[in-house]
Amino acid sequence: MMPLLAVRDLTVTFAAAAAAAAGPVRVVDGISLDVMPGEVVGLVGESGSGKSVTLRALLRLLHAAHIGGRVLWKGRDVLAMPDHELREMRGKGMAAVFQEPTAALNPVLPIGLQIEESLSAHTTLNAAARRRRAIELLGEVGITDASRRLGAYPHELSGGQRQRAMIAIALAAGPEILLADEPTTALDVTIQDQILALLLRLVADRGMGLLLVTHDLGVVAETCDRMVVLYAGRVAEAGSVADVFHQPRHAYTDALLRSMPGEGTARTRLAPIPGQPPSLGRPPDACAFVPRCGYTNPLCTEHRPPLIEVEPGRASACTAWNRLPARVPS
C-alpha cells in the first residue's frame, strides 16, 4: 500500500538573524517518515527538537526558510507544486490543527463563518448547503446545539470547544491527512482526553491519516500506532509505539523513558536527562546526544550515526541500539 504521506530527507534551514554572526541554522536535518491511510503517527521530541517546524514545512507554511528534500502526498511532490495545486492540496489533501485555538481562530468572526470560509474555498456548495454542512461538522466534532453555536464568537466558547471548532474547520474540505501540532497542550489536562478521543474517532470514521506532534509521551502511548522520535532536528528512532516503549533502540529514547515516573518509583529520585538540549546553530558531525548520553563510544563522535533499519519496522540512529535494556512492561 502506498503511504498517503511520504517525507524523504526533509531539511529546513533558516537564514541566521542579522544580529547573530553565525551561519544559517538548520532546524530540521534530514527527517524521513511515512503516514499510511488510517494510521496515527506520533512525532515526538522535546522543545526545540524541530517537530513543529517539520509539520509547518509539510504544508509549506514557512516562508522565511529554505526547505529541502521531498514531501510526497500520494506520490505528488508538495515542495515542487505550483501554487494552484498547493491551494488544492491544503485542506483537501492535508489540513492542520494548531496548538493554540485562541490564536488560530479569527476573534472577530463567528465560528460558523470560519467553517464556511473553508467550504467555499474547497467545495461548490451554495450558501444554504454550506450552512447545513457547517452544522453537520460542528455536530461531528461533538459541539452540541450546533445550529445555535454557528453564530458564536471564539471568545464565547471554552478552550475545548474552540479546539473542536478548529478541528471542524480542518475537516471542512475532507482532508486525507490531518496534521495536529500539540492539539491538546494549551488545554486543561482534563479536556485533553476528550479531544484525543475525538481525533481517534475521526481517523477511524474517515480513514484519515493523522500525524500528531507532541512532547507528551503519555499522549503518544494512548493514541498512536507508530512513533518517530526526534532529537535536535533528526530522527533518533522510529517504530511501533509498543516496540519503542518496551525496547527503545536509541539512547535518547531510553533516557527519556527512564525519566518518567512509574510504578515502583515512589519517593525515589527520578533520573532526568543530564545537561541541556544542544543549540541548533552549528551541528557537529557527531551524534547530537553525545554530551548527555550514557552509552557513548568513539564511533559516536567520529561521524554522525546514520538512521538504519535495525529490525523490520524499526529504525535507529544509535550505535548502542542493540545494547539498550528492555523495559519491564507494567
Binding site: V189, A197, L200, A221, L256, T265, A266, P272
Partner: protein, 277 residues
C-alpha cells in the same frame, strides 16, 4: 487521627449556571452545578496527599476552596484546629502565608512584564516580610536556579525554569502546606523529572505538607503516600500508593482510571478514551 494539620469536613461547592432571561423573568431558580459534594479529608503534618480524578470531577475546585480562591457553600475547613472559613484580617493573612499554591501553567501564572526579582518580591511585600534581598537569593538557590536568573523576564526562561520560579514564589513565604495543581503537566518528560525531584527534595528539607491535584496517577504515586479519588464532585476511594502499585483497588471507577493511565498499550477500540463517566 488527632494531629491533623488540615481537616476538610463535609465540604460542598456549587456554581450557578446560566439561565435564560425568560426563565429569570418567570422566576425559575438558577440551575446549579455541584462541583464538590460533601468531601471530607484529613491531612497530617508532613504528609503528601494526592487528589486524582478526570475532567470536571471537582479536584481543582476543592484545591481552590482550600486557599479560599472559592468560598465553599457548606462544610468546614480547619487548619491547626482553627476554622479557616471564619478567619479574617491578620489571621487570614497568616493562613494565606502558610498555604501556598503552584499552578499548572507556568506560562500563565507568571506576570510577563515583571522580572523574576519583582515576581518574588511581591509576596514578601504583601506580607510585610523583611530581608527581601537575602530571601530572594536564597529562594532562587533553593530551586536550583541561582541569582543569575534574578533580573530575567519569564519569556527568557524555559518551561521548567518558569515552574521553578513559580515554586520559589510559593516557598518564599515559608509555608507549611504547598498546594500543587498539576505542577508538571505542561512540561517535557525529562523536565518533569527534574521538577518532581526538586519538589521531593524540598519537602524532605523543609518538612512540607503537600496536597497535589493531578490526573496523572504515575506522578501522584511518585510524590504522594496517599491519594483520594474523586468522581463527579464526590470522594470515590482512598488509597495508599503501595495499594495502587499492587493494584489493590476495589472501586470500579478507580480501576478504569488506573487502566486509562497505565499507558503503553493503545486502546483496542478508539472509543477507549471517551470520558469515563
Amino acid at each position: 487521627m488527632t494531629a491533623a494539620l488540615l481537616e476538610i469536613d463535609h465540604l460542598s461547592k456549587r456554581f450557578p449556571l446560566r439561565r435564560s432571561t425568560l426563565d429569570a423573568l418567570r422566576g425559575r431558580p438558577r440551575p446549579m452545578l455541584q462541583a464538590v459534594h460533601d468531601v471530607s479529608l484529613s491531612i497530617a503534618r508532613g504528609e503528601a496527599v494526592g487528589i486524582v480524578g478526570e475532567s470536571g470531577c471537582g479536584k481543582s475546585t476543592l484545591a481552590r476552596c482550600l486557599v479560599r480562591l472559592h468560598e465553599p457553600d457548606s462544610g468546614r475547613i480547619a487548619y491547626n484546629g482553627a476554622d479557616v472559613l471564619a478567619l479574617a484580617g491578620d489571621q487570614r493573612r497568616a493562613f494565606n502565608r502558610s498555604v501556598q499554591m503552584v499552578f499548572q501553567d507556568p506560562y500563565g501564572s507568571l506576570h510577563p512584564r515583571q522580572t523574576v526579582d519583582r515576581i518574588l518580591a511581591e509576596p514578601l511585600a504583601i506580607h510585610g516580610v523583611p530581608d527581601a534581598e537575602t530571601r530572594i537569593e536564597r529562594a532562587l538557590d533553593e530551586v536550583g536556579l541561582g541569582t543569575g536568573f534574578r533580573f530575567r523576564y519569564p519569556h527568557q526562561l524555559s518551561g521548567g525554569q518558569r515552574q521553578r520560579i513559580a515554586i520559589a514564589r510559593a516557598l518564599i513565604l515559608e509555608p507549611q502546606i504547598l498546594l500543587l495543581d498539576e505542577p508538571t503537566s505542561a512540561l517535557d518528560a525529562s523536565v518533569q523529572a527534574e521538577v518532581l525531584n526538586l519538589l521531593d527534595a524540598l519537602r524532605c528539607r523543609r518538612g512540607l505538607t503537600f496536597v497535589m491535584v493531578s490526573h496523572d496517577l504515575a506522578v501522584v504515586t511518585h510524590l504522594c503516600e496517599r491519594l483520594m479519588v474523586m468522581q463527579r464532585g464526590q470522594t470515590v476511594e482512598f488509597l495508599s500508593a503501595p495499594d495502587l502499585a499492587a493494584h489493590r483497588v476495589t472501586n470500579a471507577y478507580t480501576l478504569s482510571l488506573m487502566h486509562a493511565s497505565s499507558g503503553f498499550k493503545r486502546a483496542a477500540e478508539p472509543g477507549h478514551l471517551e470520558p469515563l463517566s
